[in-house]
Amino acid sequence: MSQNEAIKMETPQMSQPNESENILLIKGLHKRYNEGKSNEVHALRGIDLEVKKGAMMAIMGPSGCGKTTLLNMIGHLDQNSGGEIHISTIDANKLSDGKMTAFRRDNIGFIFQLFNLFPFLSAVENVETPLLLKGYNSGVAREQAKMLLRDLGMGDRLYHNPLELSGGQQQRVAVARALITDPAIILGDEPTGDLDSTTSAEVMTLFRRINKLNNQTFVLVTHNRWIAEKCDYIVHMIDGKISNVEMGPFEEDK
């Protein structure tokens, strides 16, 4: 058994759903901040949602409606106050912190509006870090990170510090970091929010390409209707609830 196989054994494994299966199943999800206190905020008020494997879904809604909270819940970055979130068949909320961290590392990729790259690491170091956390040999991790960055057109910027890169380049590095562990779901919180329209279009094209190529599921939070319409369907939220689901396709060329 190789080292990597051994590590995989320790983390919860998802069953491989076929395309018609739900990769994400959310039932009656609630999230309250400052629970029991006078300033309690009920951010999510019973969300029910199903997302099929390989889908590309956008979440839209006004500020404060709970979009990012929902995304954080899906990514298990925060604890829910009620309800269930199943990714494939696993309810990660029932896992210990260590197993949940490993689950997140192996199965979920994050892309943020502000890129959230480590400013003190180079592009390639940022990208290889999740692999190192998985226990990969540093040489192997480095090679895979380089390969991925080259694929994303960042071959000449491998050793640049994030602050030496443009917004679009930084986001590509962030995408590479999200993809490097080959996660089933990629979550994007306003992934193009800090980019100009041309770069935003490039990034969305990149997402779609990856989505099609790897059959990876994308859940993107956005304010931008144009971005949302690049997805397969749009979930609208108001006041912590899903108000409407708009099915695509939205574009002729899709």
Binding site: G75, L77, L117, F120, L133
Partner: protein, 1115 residues
């Protein structure tokens, strides 16, 4: 925006950033605490020394005694009163010392004093030991056998406050006339033992008159009775001295020393004179122990205070590093706000001012808190001093001068402002765009032109120092001359010159090449020059001329070594961290930590460097002190063992052994334990402080030309008789290998002397020269030229040790007699630093019936090498008595002369049948004992105890053999003497380490502050780490590792630097280097512990932050 708005911004920053300001104020407070602590402890220590010395003088300012020896009389009081003006009181006193036994406890030399009942209240009071209430001594001292006992002697004799009184004290008086003692008539020339009744015990620690007496107090009339027994004329009108007090309560109200000196000088001018041997001599001698002590303490404390201040200054650097670090973090924290301020129109000056105002406020608060901290620190150190010097808590009260309060706030403000300058400058120069974008990583830039100008100026200063050698100072050699590397002064210029020049060059080069490359050059030279001096120059014995300030050079070298090493590591931190990363990344479970922690360290180069620099400075000092002490102790023990030449113990009897027909003390010692292999009996003599007739004269008393003045030319030195058989089997046979023990001479007589003592010579060479010197000593025909070295105690300069350099007599003229012939005398050897080689001395022999003059002249032919563990077991630094015991003669040393002269003096009891000290040739009082045990074997202490038990137990052992309970032996192992000085060395070291370790506290606080700040400002990064899969333990480990790595870098630099300094000194002293593994281990543990403590809590907090919350954080 103007001044007011700058103050407002500063005020707002202070009130809104409470935690962050707290760390800055804490840092400043620590710095001030240290400065105030040093100030308070220096003042306290000085006061403690002064008080413990002055307490012995009670309220006495000046003493009048007989100018030509002997006693004063009641009639002298009027004369003295007429001379003294403005005095508060005059009091007669009669003092001497003698043996005393209380129960089975014996003290060979107890001070005894007679004082009048009607002494003036200005001299203070006697107080009861148990209750502390004032005592009326007249109710107790009713007859001449009633005495009071001092509490300090009571403690020495195991008497406590609950011991029932009265108790009996037995002492001895010499009687020169038939006298009725009790009902018994005692005859001429005998010693009589009398029982005195201790009626009460007074507190000799209570300030006042009681503090002056540490033995037994009689009424003046009572003691005059006893002293008169020694006078054939039975004169009872005898006064030892008249005491003058100019004020009372000296303990609480220090006297004006300048005024006292003025009065003393004025009195000296008007002292009446009389003619002695056609010489004018003063009728009265005056002395002021108070002035003498103050002078000595001034000297000691000028040295000590400057040493402590330099040490403190070095540690303050650590404080400055911490404060600067904290301030820089503040600037980083608020770069965004600064950017906004700049964007809305605030000028650079405004930003600069508001930062300075902020640091000013911090300085004031830090100063106030630091004062409080300093007071506590001072109190703690004062308590420690009590245990160290054991002079009573009353004498070690923390001294807080009013000026310290102002000083502390001022230091706080200066520290705040000084350390705020760089951060304020950085804040004012913030790049608005980058600040608003939140870019916190700075990229290496080339230095500015202004900075380069500073570099040029530094370079010029460096060149100035370098060309001082040979150029400005012609006495020194040019740097390119071989002989230019053998002098400490030259090295001082080389160190300073290279340091400044290459610092300047580094700055200038950094304008044209990368800073890392430019400052690597600076760092290598700064570190390399002193290391070269320590390891190569000192290691190969290049430095032969030690003139110059070795302390100054040590400080310069340490500063350069520290700056150089810190700069070198700081500049290369990214490379070092890369190596660390590549090493750690191979460890499973630490790969994520390896990826981020080293990168975090190298990305904040300034902050990281300042953090490990704190430890580097402190630990360099610590390891230097620890390793120097360890090396010194180790070499001292090793050298002592070698130089003891098998002598393990020395025994001193309270009186010469009895002349027994069938046995001797030596024989009895052999019987005690089969491990005793050799006992060497010796005769010694110590004149009492009033026995001027047995002092050494340093000028010819009979030569009217010599200007002999008994007040200035008599020295109270001890004597010893040396026989050839004590040294070796055959005294006249230099080839005889059968030496009983070896020794080293530091100075050698004529004929041996041409081979001037060469410090580089081997022990064997030195030993052979010393053996030849002993040939001269025992040769009855050998006489040595007396050289024209004048010695005057009055002009003796203690700071330059008299200014004698006795190893050579090349520039000194021989003394010629009236016929022009060179005067030559037999030689004596000495262990006294007062007597230089070739100096003639006159020893009083009362043997005129044998044709000798009363004073027999000798020439100092050699001195024992006290650097070699005494070289001679009886020499100065091996004696039981030292300065602290108040024994003047013990301090001055001894003179040893050959046995043939002993027959002509009654020092050793051989003059005539009538001598009260009559001793046979083999009646010894001091014994050197060899055992079969190694030098430091505990069995030697067992033998010492055996000998003391054998001699000191009532009605058994030796006392039973001689039928005398008045004999006491003190057996001391040489190793225990060494232990005492080692203990003292360790105590002084631990005292210094209080200061040095304070730097560790600063380092620990620095770690904690940095750890907390790291977590606070990296919340977002922590969120990212958690999001991409860092387990909690790795988040925590990353925070921990960052701190530990910085701490260990500091430790590594400190250990390497400290050991390199030690290598130099070990090389110089030609002793093996001792690495203080224990101390290094302790520091390693400390840093690990502090790193864990400082990193674990914030790290744990960081690891518990929900990732989603951390990602929302905007710093």
């Amino acid at each position: 925006m103007g001044l007011i708005s700058s103050i407002k911004i500063a005020k707002r920053a202070l009130t809104r950033r409470k935690t962050k300001n707290f760390s800055a104020i804490l840092a400043i407070a620590l710095g001030v605490t240290l400065m105030v602590g040093i100030q308070i402890t220096t003042d306290t220590l000085e006061n403690a020394f002064l008080t413990s010395l002055l307490i012995r003088e009670g309220e006495v300012d000046i003493r009048f005694s007989n100018g030509t020896g002997g006693f004063l009389t009641a009639a002298d009081k009027e004369n003295i009163s007429a001379l003294v003006t403005d005095e508060l009181a005059i009091m007669p006193e009669l003092k001497s010392s003698g043996p005393a036994m209380i129960g089975s406890q014996f003290e060979p030399s107890v001070s005894m004093a007679g004082i009048p009942f009607d002494y003036d209240a200005a001299f203070g009071e006697f107080c009861y030991w148990d209750s502390g209430e004032v005592m009326d001594i007249s109710t107790y001292l009713t007859v001449n056998t009633s005495v009071l006992l001092s509490s300090s002697l009571a403690e020495d004799m195991d008497i406590n406050k609950s011991t029932e009184l009265p108790i009996t004290l037995t002492t001895e008086f010499t009687i020169n006339d038939n006298v009725l003692v009790g009902n018994e008539t005692v005859t001429v020339g005998s010693e009589v033992r009398v029982n005195l009744t201790i009626r009460e015990i007074f507190d000799s620690r209570h300030p006042g008159i009681g503090a002056s007496y540490r033995g037994v107090v009689f009424s003046l009339e009572g003691y005059q009775d006893w002293i008169s027994l020694q006078d054939p004329l039975r004169n009872k009108d005898v006064i030892g001295a008249y005491l003058i007090a100019y004020q009372t309560d000296h303990f609480t109200t220090p006297i004006d020393e300048a005024l006292l000196q003025e009065r003393f000088d004025a009195l000296e001018e008007i002292l009446p004179v009389k003619m002695v041997n056609d010489q004018e001599v003063n009728v009265y001698a005056i002395d002021s122990a108070r002035l003498l002590y103050v002078g000595i303490i001034d000297l000691i404390f000028t040295l000590m205070s400057s040493f402590l201040n330099v040490l403190g200054l070095l540690i303050i650097i650590t404080g400055i590093l911490l404060i600067t670090n904290v301030q820089l973090m503040s600037v980083e924290d608020r770069e965004f706000q600064t950017g906004v301020l700049r964007a809305v129109g605030e000028k650079r000056g405004g930003i600069f001012r508001s930062m300075l105002f902020e640091t000013l406020f911090q300085g004031v608060f830090g100063g106030i808190f630091g004062l409080a901290g300093g007071l506590i620190f001072g109190q703690v150190v004062a308590l420690y001093l009590v245990s160290l010097f054991g002079s009573g808590s009353a004498s070690v009260q923390p001294i807080v001068k009013e000026s310290v309060v102002i000083f502390s706030v001022l230091v706080g403000v200066i520290l705040g402002m000084l350390t705020g300058l760089l951060p304020a400058l950085r804040a004012s120069r913030v790049n608005i765009v980058e600040a608003l974008r939140g870019i916190k990583i700075t990229f290496e830039e080339k230095s500015s032109a202004n900075f380069a100008v500073i570099g040029v100026l530094l370079g010029i200063v460096g060149i100035f120092f370098l060309i001082t050698n040979g150029g400005i100072n012609k006495d020194l050699q040019y740097i390119w001359k071989t002989s230019g590397w053998d002098n400490l002064l030259e090295w001082e210029n080389i160190l300073l010159g290279a340091g400044f020049l290459f610092s300047g060059l580094g700055i200038v080069f950094s304008r044209y090449i990368s800073r890392t490359k430019a400052f690597n050059l600076t760092a290598i030279v700064l570190w390399g020059t002193p290391v070269f001096m320590f390891v190569v120059a000192m290691g190969n014995g290049w430095i032969t001329d030690m003139s110059g300030s070795s302390m100054g050079i040590l400080i310069i070298a340490i500063i350069e070594v520290v700056i150089g090493s810190v700069l070198l590591v700081g500049m290369n931190l990214p490379y070092i961290m890369r190596i660390l990363r590549n090493t750690l990344i191979k460890i499973r479970g630490l790969k994520g930590v390896a990826q981020v922690a080293p990168a975090l360290i190298s990305s904040h180069k300034t902050r990281s460097t300042l953090t490990f620099a704190i430890f580097a400075v402190v630990l360099t000092l610590n390891v230097t002190v620890a390793s120097l002490v360890a090396t010194n102790i180790d070499s001292t023990i090793g050298q002592s063992e070698e130089d003891s030449r098998g002598v393990d113990l020395y025994i001193q009897l309270s009186a010469p052994e009895y002349d027994l027909p069938d046995t001797s003390y030596t024989n009895e010692l052999y019987k005690l334990d089969s491990s005793i292999t050799d006992v060497i009996g010796m005769k010694t003599f110590t004149p009492s402080s009033t026995d001027y007739t047995r002092y050494v004269a340093t000028k010819d008393p009979y030569d009217p030309e010599s200007g002999f003045n008994p007040q200035k030319n008599l020295l109270p030195l001890s004597f010893g008789e040396l026989r050839s058989d004590q040294i070796r089997g055959e005294a006249q046979n230099a080839a005889d290998e059968n030496w009983r023990f070896d020794f080293y001479m530091f100075n050698l007589p004529d004929g041996v002397r041409p081979s001037t003592i060469d410090l580089g010579a081997s022990d064997e060479e030195l030993l052979n020269q010393s053996k030849t010197a002993w040939d001269r000593f025992f040769d009855p025909d050998y006489k040595m030229t007396a050289y024209n070295i004048t010695f005057d105690l009055e002009n003796f300069d203690i700071s330059s040790m008299g200014g004698f350099s006795a190893a050579t007599l090349d520039d000194v003229d021989p003394i010629l007699d009236i016929n022009g012939s060179v005067v030559q005398y037999p030689i004596v050897f000495t262990d006294s630093f007062l007597l230089p080689l070739g100096m003639p001395i006159w020893i009083a022999f009362n043997t005129s019936q044998f044709g000798f003059p009363v004073y027999q002249p000798f020439t100092i032919g050699g001195s024992f090498d006290s650097e070699r563990a005494g070289g001679w077991p009886l020499s100065r630094n091996m004696q039981t008595e030292g300065f602290s015991s108040g024994s003047f003669s013990g301090t001055m040393g001894s003179v040893y002369f050959p046995e043939r002269f002993s027959n002509y003096t009654d020092f050793f009891g051989m003059v005539d049948e009538l001598s009260p000290d009559k001793r046979e040739a083999d009646q010894f009082d001091t014994f050197l004992v060899k055992t079969s045990y190694p030098f430091d074997h505990p069995g030697i202490d067992t033998i010492a105890q055996l000998i003391e038990d054998f001699t000191n137990t009532r009605k058994s052992g030796y006392r039973e053999i001689i039928d005398d309970e008045f004999m006491v032996a003190t057996a001391t192992s040489l190793y225990s003497k060494l232990e005492a000085s080692l203990e003292m060395m360790e105590q002084m070291t631990s005292f210094l380490q209080i200061y040095v370790n304070f730097g560790l506290i600063i380092g620990a606080v620095g770690m904690a502050v940095i750890s907390v700040r790291n977590v606070a400002e990296r919340k977002r990064e922590i969120g990212m780490m958690r999001a991409i899969g860092f387990p909690r333990y790795q988040v925590m480990t990353a925070a921990l590792l960052e701190l530990m790595v910085l701490g260990f870098i500091g430790l590594f630099i400190g250990v390497v630097n400290g050991l390199l300094v030690n290598v130099g000194f070990s090389n110089m002293m030609d002793v093996p280097v001792v690495i203080p593994w224990g101390t290094i281990g302790a520091y390693l543990s400390f840093i690990t512990f502090i790193g864990l403590l400082a990193g674990a809590i914030p790290g744990w907090v960081a690891s518990r932050i929900p990732a989603a919350e951390a990602l929302r954080y905007v710093g």
